[in-house]
């Protein structure tokens, strides 16, 4: 038993609805998660009682708003076991956090002859910024291949890391669910004198996270996938690294002094937070962390392993060779992100059609390339259907998904 309360759905107002006359079954949390009432209430309460701009005012609610922002930062730091609170930088999403990393650290450290190593299972957020910077700075982008069973192929890792300054990889694939062995990758990178950046967008919401145990130098993640609001993401890095990184965006909050001739930057983390920050969103993220911590991240992970096992078993037992579920087959080696193809083994139903058919049954899944086009190429599929699980899903959701798939056999006749 996973320790997740069986009535947990009651905490999520959005799940209390019907679509097309059927109860809505939300299986797209890898895309964005739903919010518990406590997160919504925390943001309301912020706007209804202490909304003010931060770090600037000496009046009562301005002080409280500043405390709320910095208190949320401290919660984030504790949640990922960061050595210090001022190592947590708020961005608008994981994508901005990756761009901060590339634009600031990357632009200052990478040039011709250098290399950055990423993997074929990265999200576009960990690809496109490198393409953009490489075009400008002339360093090399190297790719760790992905095996046919959905793991990183580490055979040539040491060769790939030769002369590399950074290894930037996802801790959990948003398509395959694969959990990568970050401590091992960190060790390999550090042995070659490279730093390691971890895309934790799919990992931090689902698995107990400890940046120190990971051996990470940078960690990127996003609030909206972990019960928090949209509009907030996080970059964490060791203070020594952040201290010497040049600023990213320029403007208010990040300066020490500005004259007509130039400017100087203030201390971390504010140096990287130009302009009015998203205080309400930070408060919401803090409330999400409280909610997850209350459940216990070990329970969250345990629930996901159990439900993933149930889903893998249910779907393969029922549909045999009509369904192929990508990624590792062992639930303990993966997250609850289930990309699949379905239909006649000769002519699969297109993922977009599957999503449409499922929608009619109230089941929300995503179809597409999941912002991982290079991986789609490696897997040799144009797109997949993806059901992704979170704490509010249970076995009955899986049963409804399994039933709903049936309808596409009628339409597409197989």
């Amino acid at each position: 038993m996973s320790g997740i309360p069986t009535n947990i759905k009651d905490d999520f107002p959005v799940l209390r609805q019907q679509v097309h006359g059927k109860p809505m079954i939300y299986l797209d949390s890898g895309n964005t998660s739903q919010k518990p009432q406590s997160v919504i209430d925390a943001m309301n309460s912020y706007y209804e009682t202490i909304n003010a701009n931060v770090h600037r005012g000496s009046y009562d609610i301005a002080v409280k708003a500043t405390d709320a922002l910095e208190g949320a930062r401290a919660k984030v730091a504790r949640f990922i076991n960061a050595p210090a609170t001022n190592e947590v930088i708020f961005t608008k999403n994981a994508t901005e956090a990756m761009n901060l990393l590339t634009r600031s650290w990357g632009a200052a450290n990478l040039g011709p002859g250098d290399a950055v190593v990423i993997s074929e299972m990265e999200h576009h957020a960990n690809i496109v910024p490198w393409h953009m910077l490489a075009a400008e700075k002339g360093f090399e982008l190297r790719w760790i291949p992905v095996t046919s069973d959905g793991h990183l192929d580490l055979t040539d890792l040491d060769t790939l890391l030769d002369g590399a300054k950074l290894l930037s990889v996802t801790a959990m694939s948003n398509v395959l669910g694969t959990l990568n062995d970050i401590p091992r990758l960190a060790e390999a990178a550090h042995a070659k004198g490279a730093l390691i950046a971890v895309d934790g967008s799919q990992y931090v919401p689902h698995v107990p996270t400890d940046v120190q145990a990971m051996g990470a130098d940078f960690l990127v993640f996003t609030g909206h996938k972990m019960l928090g609001p949209m509009g907030i993401g996080v970059l964490w890095a060791h203070a020594e690294i952040l201290e010497v990184m040049p600023p990213f965006l320029g403007g208010g909050e990040m300066i020490l002094n500005v004259t007509k001739e130039g400017f100087t930057t203030t201390d971390i983390p504010w140096k990287f937070e130009a302009g009015t920050p998203m205080v309400a969103e930070a408060v919401g993220l803090g409330a999400a962390i409280d909610y997850l911590s209350e459940l216990g991240m070990d329970n969250v992970r345990q629930h996901e392993i159990e439900l993933t096992a149930y889903a893998l078993r249910t779907l393969t037992e029922r549909y045999g060779d009509k369904i192929v579920i990508h990624g590792p087959s062992e639930p303990a080696e993966r997250g609850g992100v289930l990309s699949f193809v379905y239909g006649d083994p000769e002519v699969r139903v297109h993922p977009h059609d599957i999503a449409q058919v499922l929608d009619q049954a109230g089941v929300c899944v995503r179809a597409g390339h999941h912002c991982a086009k290079p991986l789609m190429q490696t897997m040799n599929v144009p797109a997949t259907s993806r059901a992704s699980l979170y704490i509010y899903n249970d076995e009955s959701d899986i049963d409804i998904l399994a039933d709903a798939l049936e309808a596409s056999s009628d339409i597409f006749a197989f």
Partner: protein, 165 residues
């Protein structure tokens, strides 16, 4: 409430299962245009041979995607094969009308701006859409409109290129 029957009409599924004019044409003489839907990954490649009189003497369709995009491409190819560029443009206009797309407008989900078929022909005249009418149900599923229009956008590009060369 629209049902799946509105979307997956039999004639659509028939075009999906047995696509017409599937393949490639040699370029040159053919012109080739490629259309991408970045959101769902659908891809359509249109090859057309146009003779000196401006008639589309041959057409071939490549790419892959969902039933709607593939069926629409197949139906499109059947409709414009043997027609002149001007007639093909009228088809584009008529199909756009069928999809309720108004040029230059950005739709609720951005689909129209992305798919807004760019052609001079805003008048559809007396074009008979025939089989294509089956796609009318797509309008009730706004996210699928871009699936249905992808091949038509790509055709418009191919026509422009054929005229330019």
């Amino acid at each position: 409430m629209p049902g799946l029957d509105d979307l997956y009409r039999e004639v659509i599924l028939d075009h999906y299962r047995s696509p017409r004019n599937r393949g490639e044409l040699e370029t040159p003489p053919a012109v080739r245009a490629e259309g991408f839907n970045p959101l769902c990954g659908d891809e359509i490649i249109v090859f057309i041979d146009v003779d000196d009189a401006g008639t589309i003497t041959d057409i071939a369709i490549g790419g892959q995607g969902c039933s709607i995009s593939q069926a629409a491409a197949s139906m499109m190819s059947a409709a414009v094969k043997g027609k002149t560029i001007a007639e093909a443009r009228r088809y584009i206009g008529a199909f756009k009308g069928l999809m309720s797309i108004h040029e230059g407008e950005i739709g609720g989900d951005g689909s129209e701006a992305e798919t807004g078929i760019s052609t001079g022909a805003s008048e559809s005249g007396d074009v008979k859409l025939g089989d294509l009418e089956a796609l009318k149900g797509v309008v009730k599923f706004p996210v699928r409109i871009k699936c249905a229009t992808l091949s038509w956008n790509t055709l418009a590009e191919a026509l422009a290129e054929a005229e330019a060369s």
